[in-house]
Subunit: 255 residues, 2 copies
DNA sequence: AAACCTTTTGCGGGTTCCCGCAAATTAGCT
DNA sequence: AGCTAATTTGCGGGAACCCGCAAAAGGTTT
């Protein structure tokens, strides 16, 4: 009986797999439809929508076992779309593909991916071979696969920049949102001095110190994070949406 | 004789126009090649290169009267490529096309376009009709054409945000680079208080004031500018390259 | 030239930020 | 429990930032 359940939820190599493609660029979309047709004979039905909101809707009603999701889209961000899709269907396998190798996206994805699922992250510039491999590995076999180009950002750098911890990353986001030290302390529930300690280690890791020291560390840190693709504008938009309600509540509380 | 000169430099509707396409995305590139073939019979020879550096080289040696330039490219930025192309051949007509409607790009272009030339800015999501129109208007007729979607960012907004002056924009860039007030004053050759005045008006125009006042104005301003697409990461990269030499010289001077 | 407007500059002080120092708390290990 | 390393927190002070106020310097109009 457990097998029957699993079969229903994960029609592995049946031959009637439904696939949802969410991609706003029509050329990439048609290329992807074509490639899937060639490489994945298991797929019997392909649905294509052109933006994140429609993708969420379709995924909610359609109950797709496999989704291909563009990360850069007008309106809803790819990572956010994935979050709501996974909230409704935690077993959905999602292959992200993106124009850029942004560490920020990868971080966003890895923090929301459920245990029961699989995901992949490939670049749009990747070869047809690697794309086919990823399609099969992630959507059919349920593996996790991340393009080597993306992880590269972690290691290599002009100097051995170490990767940020989760807590450092969250204060980085708050910093880039324009919050003040006190506000960050409030939001993350810690003391003012601790926030400043986090900032201190942030400044070190982003190498804000060793530039002659004449910079404004606050804005320089944001600058470094953006240019090294640790942070991107899309994640800032998403973070702003999370900040809004909290800040409104805080204002109400204090009055 | 003047006519002969003009004909040599601007082979208007001869039927042997050379065209250079600089575009890293192969799907968009092949689509563009196809479209040009359909719409511009005047073009006898199309060259396609996949990144900005190669584009600059090719344009320098090839002497193209018309160029199509992607704005988002790995390596050299589209606006920078245009600058060097125009430096060598000021009469070159360039059609920019982009994924995004960023005010920052438009500002960058309008400040470097020579009097003798023409340019256009269209979005990749634009209809084939409008694209064809722009191709003809800019590359053949030498008109200036900007997609309506892009100018929209100037006017509409949640509140009537006014557009920045040139001087305000330059301090915004310096701010986003992480410079300190004093450094900006140095760089732009004005007093410290003047810099702060500029920042003041920046804060007003970016509406940093009317948010409860609990924000760090410096980073919040950068945040607003990024989210409203007044500024983008590509222009920051370009600005950083300009800053580098100046800052090195300043360090040498002070020691 | 006089009146007027805009921009620039200096001064002063209130606030926030940056960070060294040391005590307190927590986490990890035997 | 007991010991050690790491993290958190408070305190304090120097630097940078934010900005009101008012004088000085340019630029325009009449």
């Amino acid at each position: 009986m457990g097998d029957a359940d699993r079969a229903a939820i994960r029609p592995d190599r049946g031959s009637d797999m439904k696939l949802l493609i969410v991609e706003d660029d029509q050329f990439h979309a048609s290329f992807m439809v074509e490639t899937v047709g060639d490489i994945l004979p298991e797929v019997s039905e392909i649905t294509h929508v052109a933006d994140g909101d429609k993708g969420e809707e379709e995924a909610k009603s359609g109950d797709y076992p496999a989704v291909i999701l563009d990360l850069q889209m007008p309106g809803r961000n790819g990572v956010e779309a994935a979050r709501t899709i996974w909230a409704a269907h935690p077993e959905t396998r999602i292959l992200f593909w993106s124009n850029y190798a942004d560490e920020a996206y990868l971080r966003g994805i890895t923090t929301i991916v459920p245990e029961t699922s699989a995901y992949g992250y490939v670049l749009k510039t990747t070869s047809a071979n690697r794309l086919g491999l990823a399609l099969r590995a992630v959507l059919i076999e349920g593996q996790i696969m991340v393009d080597r180009e993306i992880n590269r950002y972690h290691q290599r750098a002009t100097t051995p920049r170490s990767t940020l911890t989760e807590s450092e990353f969250s204060v980085l986001v708050d910093l880039a949102l324009g919050l003040t030290d006190k506000l960050i302390a409030d939001r993350r529930a810690m003391s003012l001095r601790s926030v400043q300690n986090r900032l201190l280690s942030l400044y070190q890791k982003l190498e804000v110190d060793d530039e002659g020291g004449a910079f404004n560390k606050r804005t320089r840190a944001v600058n470094r994070a953006l240019l090294t693709r640790m942070l991107n504008v899309e994640t800032l938009i998403a973070a702003e949406r999370e900040l809004g309600p909290w800040y409104a509540k805080k204002l109400a509380r204090s009055e």
